[in-house]
Symmetry: C2
Subunit: 459 residues, 2 copies
Amino acid sequence: MSANGHTNGVNGANGLPDHPGFTAIPARENPHPHTARNPYGHNAGVTDFLSNVSRFKIIESTLREGEQFANAFFDTEKKIEIAKALDDFGVDYIELTSPCASEQSRRDCEAICKLGLKAKILTHIRCHMDDARVAVETGVDGVDVVIGTSSYLREHSHGKDMTYIKNTAIEVIEFVKSKGIEVRFSSEDSFRSDLVELLSLYSAVDQVGVNRVGIADTVGCASPRQVYELVRVLRGVVKCDIEIHLHNDTGCAIANAYCALEGGATHVDTSVLGIGERNGITPLGGLMARMIAVDRDYVMSKYKLHKLKDIEDLVAESVQINIPFNNYITGFCAFTHKAGIHAKAILNNPSTYEIIDPSDFGMTRYVHFASRLTGWNAIKSRAQQLNLEMTDAQYKECTAKIKALADIRPIAIDDADSIIRAYHRNLNKSGEDAFLMDLTPDEKLQFAAKEKEFARQEA
Amino acid sequence: MSANGHTNGVNGANGLPDHPGFTAIPARENPHPHTARNPYGHNAGVTDFLSNVSRFKIIESTLREGEQFANAFFDTEKKIEIAKALDDFGVDYIELTSPCASEQSRRDCEAICKLGLKAKILTHIRCHMDDARVAVETGVDGVDVVIGTSSYLREHSHGKDMTYIKNTAIEVIEFVKSKGIEVRFSSEDSFRSDLVELLSLYSAVDQVGVNRVGIADTVGCASPRQVYELVRVLRGVVKCDIEIHLHNDTGCAIANAYCALEGGATHVDTSVLGIGERNGITPLGGLMARMIAVDRDYVMSKYKLHKLKDIEDLVAESVQINIPFNNYITGFCAFTHKAGIHAKAILNNPSTYEIIDPSDFGMTRYVHFASRLTGWNAIKSRAQQLNLEMTDAQYKECTAKIKALADIRPIAIDDADSIIRAYHRNLNKSGEDAFLMDLTPDEKLQFAAKEKEFARQEA
């Protein structure tokens, strides 16, 4: 059994070159040598001294950004259920809608603070003393302060100039800190803000002791290399932590979060399934997919990945959406392999065509056996791995049985193995073991009919 | 009316700093000065001499990669329908499943070649003379050749060494070229292949005159900066075009495509809704979202964006999936704004919170009026834009009517405008104009009931 949980022992020990991908960063001694054991590992970010890909934290914003999703109307009970599930999963922070948004928002914020969760509770307010005074009385562990800094927002939203923004920010930060709780200051629409003004503002709030500054791609316009560069420059300007909040309008929210961590960001905002304004932000599950491919040990040690699907189902049901067919990790086809050439290699060694081990998330790998794109050599290959030698005619007959069963229900690798073993046993004894133990009577009838149909086709 | 189709005249002429984002690339004279007119523009890639973000081509692979999607079983008629739709949309190439996969695949390939489409037709084969001989007889404009080069694939799939791969590649390429058609050579799992071996192989095929080399992130492990760096290095090694094929397992397929273009790639593989092995590849719509945010003029001039939704609906129906709730551009919430502060600014100037103009795709913007997160100041702001002055009490009453209608059906900006105008007319005349012209009798009854309910709540 290798370190990644697969049962194939040859990974990394096959004598062939094992180039870990290609990176802009000069090779250095890997400060995280444990990751090298992972045959799925890509150490680009891990070997860079700026990078936090092996020590990032999650600020989970389903109960703030997610509440701005078109379909989201969480009542108190649902908010508490979601907060508890996220806490159990292991997120570092849970961010809540401003207590100033409505009387109910304030009461919900107080109720969640009283739950005694391990995760720190944050609330998200406008950069204004009126809001700050309300926020610090709710019992939160920290306050996330935000103000728009782009010319768009300054003209079309709040109408304030940068001097006013800086002075207000300092007043709010010093006030929140005086209450003994964390404070973050974020610009909004950071990538359409003037760079010099932005750095000047962040530098000023860093000097008064802000805990974290935030960069926000509010409109989803930023590209990965822009994100990397802005974070890297900011990393040289401030001492405090750096948070990143990324919308997904142009499909870069996960990639941008990764590049932000490479550039020195410390905290990533997520929401379950990415729900938020418009098409949302970096999804929690998608970020897990990205990060586990880079540093599996860190992700596995910190987050209860088996709970991901339950949390997604909980939120999807609350906001009345379906899990997208192509959702990261939990989408129905995330671990389904179809083409014959893929299926054969996957059976041989799953890491050939998988960068993520589905069992890390309590998920199952499917190989699509009942397709014109696959063939009996996949089954022969698998049988030989299981040390079950048969003739080619027998492999073909066994394949026909698997295809017949695959027409009745989805066939996982384990199911295929059971069928192959049963077929092999039946060759050497009188009587016939069932191919799958848990077939219903109706499925048994369907299977018999399929077998007849397949036999006709062969003839 | 500004260049981007919005009716707000102040974009880029507001006297405030208009920083175009931040980029790693030294500022140079913009070779595409027309893009600077776009208030949504981000010229990072456009100003880099390596970059092809303003001249990329699409190789549409719904009928090849997409056929490997778990649910995809296209018959000949459906393949022809999809090919015609993609051709009409304006894709540069259409890639088809290997004619060697099955007898039906070969016949379908020939049928599509005979349609006389504007797009060039490609078929995708293993790097083998047997396959090449079949492919060149189908009538295709080009042949895409692929072979696995990673240690994983070499051990667990085909079992060939690099010398064999190189010699076979050269034989196949020279054969295909001798037939007067295009040929592309791609490695598979390029990011887990040995870099020196990979560059040596690409250099060899470039020297025998291959038209295009392909980089493939077959397992979806690559990160944006890895992609940029590998493409940039390859750009210095080969003279031919560079194609990129990117799986989305870790959420980077769109971002990686963008970074590949920044690094000098010329062609991007897409499929409709991203369908393919596992959770698929760079989606056509998602790539359009990314690219229109960077060079709207190029994208608008080349692709019939209004057809995107029809093509997605066609493919989704064929493979029996729902369009994801958060799909780029066409997802139901892609242009829905909810938070009060967002709604107000969006009404004031859409580009405040939108990087893409929905009307470019024939889509409609929604502002979520019936939420506790929004308020009457959004309606006041919109009414004032329409030069309809009223008292605050009247704005509030008008807002209540819009909220009542929003409870009955989704309210688009145009609907809100109609209601505001009707409300304003009714103030100054006897009798009452309908608030929306096309309400059904049933909706009118619902509206009357809602109005009573809202009045009770106010009291």
